[in-house]
């Protein structure tokens, strides 16, 4: 019997609808640039860092051709604030970085989120902390991308692609979500998916994508910041149209005035959290294979999911009933995907254990959630197969060199 396979993401359909175009051998960074252009990007502002540097270079070439603007910022903090400013002025905006630059953006993150400014941020993760090893992949910003500002009282949207082709579609999707939810959407990719070259289909005419691209609209009326509302699909606020809008870092009224009253603080928080929580189903994206009869479910995202999927298929051939769950939307965390009372094997590129902690929280039995962390280098198919067999047949993780299994 064939294994059940499911891709829940808007591009499952998009790939069917758009067949006219060109096929290239290109890198993830190239797909990301083209995805942003296809989505109507107007301004890119950033500061170079491996493995996101190629995005900046592609943008510097591509944007003037479509009458967009490439701004090379003095640092990442400036880069993201420039994006927020450009977006307030009515342009779709994006920045791209890796871990060291990502941490510098948090000031701008909070400002853009509280002011409901659509911006797309790319973090191509590498092993850390700090500079770590420049060319080695990592998955250490799973939580940081959720808590990308201080002070709490926010929800965030984070997506992660696992192939060059998916990077293209997912980037368009990220811009759409940023517009619809009036917020920052983070694309959490990694050194492998960003740098690798793969088959890439690009539609021949981006104009024909108007059916799937959410255009920039302008909110010209009060309320600029609807209190207590979880409504989405509101047009973003715009500066320069004389609406009298006020944006700021302070707790705001519906006009955007600063206010120091708890009711206003609560109303603002309700909006920032619930516009996302109440529409979680609009954000959920994942891929699943063979879950129906699985006796162990391997969980991964990004580059890691590539080997893990191969390992699951290989384990099946060896008689282990393994299933595969690849998260594409990482935040808001898809608790609903972990309702099956089965053992889970969570593979990720860090030793401290990040994704695994959320799976432990969401799964029915946290004692049956196993961790397989690697640092700086990819899991191998053999390693994952051995772990799947150990968990499925002996309810135990085998000891393997350079793999962390402990989560405390």
């Amino acid at each position: 019997m064939a294994l059940s396979e499911e891709l829940v993401a808007p591009w499952a359909e998009w790939q069917e609808s758009y067949q006219d175009g060109q096929r290239l051998l290109e890198a993830g960074t190239y797909a990301l640039t083209e995805g942003a252009v296809a989505a109507g990007l107007g301004v890119f502002a950033g500061y170079p860092i491996t493995p996101a540097t190629d995005i900046a270079e592609y943008m510097s070439k591509r944007l003037p051709q479509i009458d967009g603007y490439y701004l090379q910022a003095e640092d990442e903090l400036a880069g993201m604030h420039m994006c927020a400013g450009a977006s307030l002025g009515g342009q779709k905006a994006m920045t791209a970085t890796s871990g060291p630059g990502y941490t510098l953006m948090h000031d701008a993150y909070g400002w853009a989120i509280v002011n409901e400014i659509p911006v797309v941020v790319v973090d191509a993760m590498r092993v850390g902390p700090v500079s770590g090893i420049t060319g080695a992949p990592g998955q250490g910003e799973f939580y940081v991308s959720r808590y990308c500002s201080h002070g709490g009282n926010i929800e965030t949207i984070v997506l992660s692609p696992n192939s060059v082709q998916e990077t293209f579609w997912l980037t368009i999707d990220a811009f759409n979500l940023a517009e619809r939810f009036r917020t920052v959407v983070t694309i959490l990719t990694d050194q492998v998916v960003a740098d690798m070259f793969e088959d890439l289909f690009l539609p021949g005419d981006y104009g024909a994508l108007s059916d799937i691209v959410v255009p920039r609209r302008h909110n010209l009326t009060m309320p600029f910041f609807p209190a207590d509302s979880s409504e989405i699909d509101l047009p973003p606020n715009v500066i320069g149209e004389g609406t009298g809008v006020c944006v700021s870092p302070y707790t705001h009224t519906e006009e955007g005035y600063d206010i120091e009253e708890m009711e206003a603080q609560w109303s603002q928080t309700f909006r920032l959290i619930n516009k996302i929580r109440h529409h979680k189903d609009e954000i959920l994206r994942y891929e699943a294979v063979g879950l129906d009869d699985a006796e162990v479910i391997a969980v991964a995202y990004g580059a890691t999911a590539r080997t893990v999927k191969t390992a699951v298929l290989e384990a099946r051939r060896q008689g282990v009933k393994a299933g595969f769950l690849r998260l594409i939307s990482l935040w808001p965390f898809p608790d609903e995907l972990f309702e099956r009372d089965q053992p889970y094997l969570v593979c990720e590129l860090n030793y401290d254990g990040q994704l695994v902690r959320e799976v432990m929280r969401a799964a029915p039995d946290k004692n049956r959630v196993h961790f397989m962390g690697k640092s700086g280098e990819m899991h191998t198919v053999a390693e994952v197969c051995e772990a799947l067999e150990g968990v499925a047949k002996h309810q135990k993780m085998p000891q393997q060199p350079y793999i962390w299994t402990e989560v405390r």
Binding site: V43, L88, G242, G256
Partner: protein
């Protein structure tokens, strides 16, 4: 409310929440006078503010579109905004902490790029909204709440920094120079490029109390007046004097940043159309 405030500000947010005797409100009025003399309308100007007394007391008072940035970042936001809305004048009102300390790198690079904004740096020589600590513009030796033994570091004049970085209009005044301030703000806003106007004013609440020993606004104003002239009333020389007036005027001598980018696009797109 005076006529200018009625014409340009939001009645519900005026007067400012600044301390009694603080010059923030008066200086804002001078900005309005310059705007009025230029015959600008509310919709012609985008008003951006920093954080701190200067930023927060002026934020959202302007009747048109407003933004208040996080501490120091107004210029970074304005750079992106100017590229998106080159048709608008952007007026930024920021503190010395915003401009010369936490946001100093944005200040330098906005000047270098010649971004079309006018920065009004209202310099009260310290971080006043956090209670009066020294800043990069506090005169050496002066007592503040974080320099109880006298400011030990050397200060700098942000005008020197932006001139070196490439600003196309730079001027300095103080809170006792009403007419001069209106005049230079007008010139600043007529420059299609990066303009910097540095205005010294006294914080009566903190600087007055710790450095000058009195919260009486008259004591602070007299101190500013003396240091503007370089002489006290009885003719004695002050410990130092500020050099006020226009410090650098290369207005409209080189293209504004967003125009540079637009021209670049036009060139690239023309080459593409010509098939090269």
């Amino acid at each position: 409310m005076n006529k200018l405030a009625a014409k340009y500000l939001r009645p519900e947010l005026v007067p400012t929440k600044a301390c009694q005797g603080c010059a923030i409100g008066a200086i804002e009025n001078w900005l309005l006078q310059a705007i009025d003399e230029m015959e600008l309308k509310q919709e012609d100007v985008i008003f951006g503010a920093g954080i701190g007394c200067v930023g927060r007391q002026t934020f959202a008072t302007w009747g048109g579109d407003n933004f208040g940035a996080t501490h120091g970042r107004a210029l970074a936001v304005a750079t992106g905004l100017k590229v998106a809305r080159p048709d608008k004048k952007i007026l930024l009102v920021v503190g010395d902490g915003d401009a010369a300390s936490i946001g100093a790198s944005h200040l330098i690079h906005a000047a270098r790029r010649n971004v079309g904004v006018t920065v009004i740096c209202e310099d009260n020589m310290g971080y006043e909204s956090t209670g009066g600590q020294f800043s990069p513009t506090t005169p050496a030796g002066y007592v503040t709440n974080s320099s109880p033994y006298g400011m030990a570091e050397q200060s700098f004049d942000p005008c020197d920094v932006v001139i070196a970085a490439g600003a196309t209009f730079v001027a300095e005044t103080t809170a006792v120079q009403w007419r001069q301030t209106v005049k230079v703000v007008k010139l600043a806003m007529q420059n299609d490029g990066f303009s910097f106007v540095h205005i010294r004013f006294p914080c009566v609440q903190n600087f007055g109390a710790s450095a000058l020993g009195s919260r009486d606004p008259l004591v602070s104003m007299e101190w500013i007046y003396d240091h503007t002239k370089g002489k006290t009333d009885d003719g004695a020389e002050t410990d130092f004097a500020w050099e006020t007036g226009i410090k650098h005027d290369a207005s409209n001598s080189r293209p504004e940043y967003s125009k540079v980018l637009r021209d670049l696009n036009a060139r690239v797109r023309a080459d593409m159309a010509a098939g090269s």
